[in-house]
Symmetry: C2
Subunit: 460 residues, 2 copies
């Protein structure tokens, strides 16, 4: 084995856990456009959001403050797994025979096994502070539902999770995890809401979708003044909470005198990508750093690389405000890839603006290549990545091989957003060659976007 | 939240990873008795074991050296996840309202999710060093099979795993994990061996047992001079490799000026218990420390608390030498509890001698209490423990509550040997109240032990 210049695992001391989250908006040259009311096309105000979220989160959603203090009880809970380790991928580097230095931030050490608890704990705290006794949410593959279950039981908040029925049946372990943390879970569509009952009356075998699950969760929250709603990605306050990842990573890299030339995160709604990258986007804007910052999406859900920048609903049914986003159209139904967390039609307002302004870039990755990279990573680094996270691994491998070709000693940082222990069924299908790539045609995308024209959604 | 005197997670710097394993035998007042050949009743020599193990491991098996150097390539691989964190269970302490200080060593950070890779990597290294190209092994719940798969692929060794058929069908994720790391797995009984074929001819639906799987793995190794066999617990060299856990824990506790009054590990074959406790047993013998050291077994497989100390087979079928052990009889069939790693009829020679000499003690725990403790732990500390590890949690809770009653500020250290992500099916059954306790009667045990008398196995 080669001589190692610094330890493989770089731990930030617990007392250096960040005291504030970083708010990207403060440093953006062009601020994100405001969300609009779908009927009036006027910017929505705090009052429009009050039935869904506690005031503290609504304030964060529109804040332009550069740093927002992490409440001490949230920091105390973070310490259960944070600061998360930054790891030098010596073994992957060796297998690729690359001169690139590869670092990854590992968020799989959290209770639910991904970055999601970073915002779940914060959201549960702010809701509890304002006396909220009950939350609702939706979950697809179950990462978000289990993270929020973990967080709400810490603050004595009841949680009702609507889990997309097909995932509920496919991933029973996620449901168990939620139950261990006192989360109540029903397959969606459910009998608990009008939306659900209506859909079931028409089609008792409806497999569910994230759009339906969101509608059920919002309906339940709106109808009960004691109940609020929580979202695991897309919104500004969610991305804000995730910046603890990148803030830690920057300090950890400083500890070994490193700074990334490339920062990589997989991309669904944007929360883990924002988490790792925003502090480095700041350096680009404020300090003129030349870092390449790459969001990696699945080829089968290519909103960043092939979508349009325009106003669209955040959900499928159309219950949310209009958000300025790169989108494939809210009625785009992503193919059934195993990276369930990346199956989302749009990107949040901040990330979309950054992409439009050329401050970040995007790449699309086919499903087979993502599993191939996941297995290479498991064999070299010993961690089986979540299907979502493998997308970041693919781009890392691509960049490392390019560096080899060009003989460049670049430094890469990527976010390993979660482990794949609950997703081993997907790996089994890959090993049995039951997984394939999905193509999305230009016609499909154009067809979906046409609906937005017909609905008269403004194009910024 | 209360003022914390030291960080929750105590990391030992990577350059302080132990350079040698600790060999308990060197300091034992009464050395373990030698294994005997079942036919001659004479001590077995290195030649008897040579068809199964490489010479380096056979030498470790009989060594009386106090410290045995960890080869540098093994230390380099250890650094992928070691030193593992020592964690202060502040949140569990608070929930129990106990004056006890609770620390746990967390081995679930390893690639396979338990302590097993500590010996798997060492065994793969020594086999590779002696030119071995192929290994066989058995696995019950799959922890050992996945750990050895991970280790052998690092050294280009082919691995054939015989997995107890009923577990193979119940825990498909473990099989996938082995496949990701290139391990070949068949359900046992299989068509690959004479033993397997004979059993299948008589009973095609035979569900398999650890005993049968061991027989198949040994048969395949014995018949091919290129193939050797690996065992994940019980033997002296396996326990030796696991002492890296306790050696690290001792240094980590020193970092926060702590020393345990009680050391706790769950007990199957003895490897994780030995790993955490042997360095502290040494302190008891050599330095006169008064530490209580507690092995925790399931009530349904009570070899330490209700078994007899005598010679017995290490396996069910009778292919191994006779080992001096606390045993329920090699033909004792443990009830189908979910802590598959604890379903073993005997205890290794060293641990048995220590128990006989009063240097360690043992407790038995019912299955329902183990899951209850597992859920309490998940809710407070954020980690879902493996069903095996929950047994150590139970004893920790008992000791912490006793300390509360007595108003004593004792310090407890336990080994959290693995996470339960692949065992969530068991938790689901517990939450659905489909799990119950199993009683073992004195008559059952006496019946089993009578067989040993009939076979004329010596009683030391």
């Amino acid at each position: 084995m080669s001589t190692k210049k610094h330890p493989k695992k770089i731990y930030l001391p617990e007392d250096r856990l960040p005291k504030a989250w970083y708010n990207m908006v403060a440093d953006m040259p062009n601020k994100p456009l405001p969300p609009l009311h779908p009927a009036t096309k006027q910017p929505v105000g705090p009052d429009d959001l009050a039935p869904l979220f506690p005031m503290a989160l609504i304030q964060q959603e529109v804040s332009t403050e550069r740093y927002i203090e992490i409440p001490e009880p949230v920091r105390e809970i973070y310490k259960i797994w944070r600061p998360s380790p930054l790891i030098r991928a010596y073994n992957l580097e060796k297998a690729l025979d690359t001169p690139a230095k590869i670092y990854y931030k590992y968020e799989g050490v959290s209770p639910a096994g991904s970055h999601k608890p970073n915002t779940a704990v914060a959201q549960a705290f702010y809701n509890a502070s304002e006396g909220v006794k009950r939350l609702t949410t939706e979950t697809g593959a179950g990462q978000w539902g289990s993270a929020l279950s973990y967080a709400t039981q810490l603050f004595d908040i009841d949680l009702q999770v609507f889990m997309v029925k097909v995932s509920y049946n496919q991933k029973p372990y996620r449901k168990t995890m939620m139950n261990i943390w006192k989360g109540k879970v029903v397959p969606s569509p459910s009998e608990l809401t009008e939306t659900g009952r209506k859909i079931l009356a028409e089609d008792p075998d409806n497999p569910g979708s994230l759009g339906i699950a969101i509608s059920e969760a919002i309906e339940m929250a709106v109808k009960d003044p004691q109940t609020k709603y929580a979202l695991g990605s897309v919104l500004n306050h969610v991305l804000l909470h995730q910046t603890v990842i990148g803030l830690e990573a920057k300090e950890q890299m400083e500890m070994v005198d490193a700074y990334p030339d490339v920062v990589i995160g997989c991309f669904g709604g944007g929360s883990n990508f924002a988490g790792i990258s925003f502090p480095f986007v700041r350096d680009k804007i404020v300090e003129g750093k030349q870092t390449r910052i790459i969001a990696v999406e699945p080829q089968s859900c290519p909103k960043l690389t092939r979508g349009q920048f325009r106003y669209d609903f955040g959900d499928t049914i159309g219950m949310t405000p209009l958000i300025p986003m790169f989108t494939l159209g809210h009625n785009f139904m992503p193919p059934a890839i195993h990276a369930g967390g990346l199956r989302y039609h749009g990107a949040g307002a901040i990330v979309s603006q950054l992409l439009k302004d050329g401050l970040i870039e995007a790449e699309a990755v086919p499903q087979l290549e993502s599993f191939e990279a996941g297995i290479l990573f498991a064999q070299t680094e010993g961690i089986i990545p979540a299907p979502e996270s493998t997308h970041a691994v693919v781009q890392t491998v691509r960049e490392a091989l390019k560096a080899k070709e060009e003989g460049k000693e670049i430094t890469i940082l990527f976010n390993l957003s979660g482990h794949g222990h609950i997703d081993l069924g997907a790996y089994e299908q890959y090993l049995n060659q039951h997984i394939h790539n999905y193509e999305v045609t230009d016609e499909q995308i154009a067809e979906n976007l046409k609906v937005l024209d017909e609905m008269g959604f403004p194009k910024p």
